[in-house]
Symmetry: none
Subunit: 193 residues, 4 copies
DNA sequence: CATGAATGAGCTTTCATTCAT
DNA sequence: CATGAATGAAAGCTCATTCAT
């Protein structure tokens, strides 16, 4: 049971995040969540309309944060290659630093019912497009290769980020920063003309 | 209903592949599978011990095929960069050409119960290691960068392949070969010293 | 939300009447009632001991009113046929003029728990018996047929009144008075020897 | 538990009829039905898609039977007054002879979800209209009063039939035939010009 | 007076699997 | 070989009511 000072909704989000990250949304029973949070089902449904809402809440706060950081860095100063390197490293670092949330997002976001899934996809697409515009900026500036479409490159890179949830362990030898730098290096390397 | 000459087990595998690819293992009921295959539940349990067995069968045949091709190409003649380019393009092409199977593997393979999951992971690791040894061969030959560990590169690349199931559509503008070439180009690009 | 000057208990009764009439007692959640009344559950349980109490209050005031009017008219002057015609028309008119209350009574009164249901039945029986005594008075006076027991006639007539809630619409072409007259005419017609 | 040779679906319908008649659809749990039928919930959902389906099945067979009988008698030979008397008595007799089914229909038919409710209403309307056309036939023939609209008369009469479920007891002093004759007598009496 | 968080028991429905035929 | 009836455990969700503040 998750004890401590945290409020009931916070405890519920925490419990759900842990369990969804471990077993995937479909394999977690509401009963497990409330048991871990130390409350009853009624309490959960007092704060959240459904099990879906918990999932949405979890991935939503991560996605919002990452989108904000992407926009801040991408619109900042400096050569485009440096900015792309920075955003690539940043999304890896924030994913690893909020690893349970990230795993939930990568693994379970499309278990949402149609309506919520559409909203999630729209948010994700916004992120994708801002990232792609950075690649295109570099292509137009002549510093990135143009024989591979920017769209493909972005999907290529986000595949690697999503896959972190499958193999990376926060307790392993590579720190968040190291893995972020490696991934950004590989991305920038792959884009050289 | 899936008609045709196919045998009952084949029809069951076909139906399960289609449904698991679309909705994910957990969201498909055995009843749906047998309905689509045009048989009854009893028939399914006659040929397969459980729902898990269907899943194992589906990803297993793809993984086996890809492992064989990897080994054939990797052990073939030619400079290591060319061989790596070939295996990278090949795994993309075979995944796209067997897209439903690939989606099932990428998305649902870890829904298997512990015992079967271990077997799957072992097979997957074999593939990973053979691929990595190719990267290391290039590093030792001095044609690939060494500042990023080979292991990280391999995870990096396989992330992108797994992610295909999320965004790629066989009906879209990019053919299997094109996407394979782009992905292999990006991989090789990223490995330049 | 039901606004206006009305007191909290009045707003609660109003909200419950509307909702019970529409959906039936069992299909209305206490939360819906308090939402429509613009108060909280605590407020409701401050004024009413339970959801049952609201129901009892609603049908009770109508039944009391109808009983009083029945007694006043039945004990008044005039030939028995005229008095019966008047009470029959009157119960229809007052039911239609308080249509939501009447619907609640007709439809939901026997959802009450045993104890309260007994009280309700006793009140209803009093009404029934006074009505029947009027029929018997006419039979003894020789103006009503005697081949059908008075009891049956009264049930026969009250069935029609209860059924109003099922088909009658206050917005339709028939006014309360018209439908009251028609029903009383039919009743009197059916009683001719 | 309902024992005997009856098949499982029959036992389920029997149990549901008894319980719905007693307590109303909303107050009966599926668990109670299957307990009384001596099977498990899984068995019930093997035969019936939902709790609604049981309800539909129950009232449907009664309504179909009554509609057939109405049409047979109404279209038969004889003066219109006699035919109307016969159909009025018949609907009372069949309702009383299938009293549990009739109670379910009278009391619970509008607990159905929208889609099924529409179908039920259509069936009921067909019955109503055939009955009304008989009244109109008598009005045109000059044997029934015309100062009360036929539609009102039909609602008037069906109210009394529906109400039977509220007060009539099969164990009481009045037989099905007696109550049928009384009701038909009252209807015909009420229609005299 | 009034709030609203929390309870706990109950609800309908789903589903992989078994087994007598 | 194949059927399909039946199981039993679990799932997500609802709701009247209580109670500390």
């Amino acid at each position: 049971m998750l004890l401590g000072m945290a409020s009931v909704p916070e405890r519920l989000i925490g419990a759900a995040t842990r369990l969804f990250a471990d077993k995937g949304y479909d394999r977690v029973a509401v009963q497990e969540i409330v048991d871990l949070a130390g409350v009853t089902k009624g309490a959960m449904y007092h704060y959240f309309g459904s099990k879906d809402d918990l999932l949405q809440e979890i991935y939503g706060s991560l996605l919002r944060m990452q989108t904000e950081r992407l926009e801040a860095i991408a619109s900042g100063p400096g050569p485009v290659a440096e900015r792309l390197h920075a955003v690539a490293a940043d999304v890896v670092v924030t994913s690893v630093e909020n690893f349970d949330q990230a795993k939930v997002y990568f693994r379970s976001a499309d278990q949402l019912p149609e309506a919520k899934r559409r909203a999630m996809r729209a948010e994700r697409r916004r992120y994708h497009e801002r990232f792609r515009s950075l690649v295109e900026e570099g292509q137009e500036a002549g510093v990135f290769r143009t024989d591979v479409p920017a769209d493909v490159t972005v999907h290529f890179f986000f595949g690697t980020v999503h896959h972190l949830g499958t193999w990376y362990h926060t307790t392993g030898p590579l720190s968040a920063k190291e893995i972020g730098r490696h991934y950004a290096d590989l991305l920038l390397g792959s884009l050289r003309p």
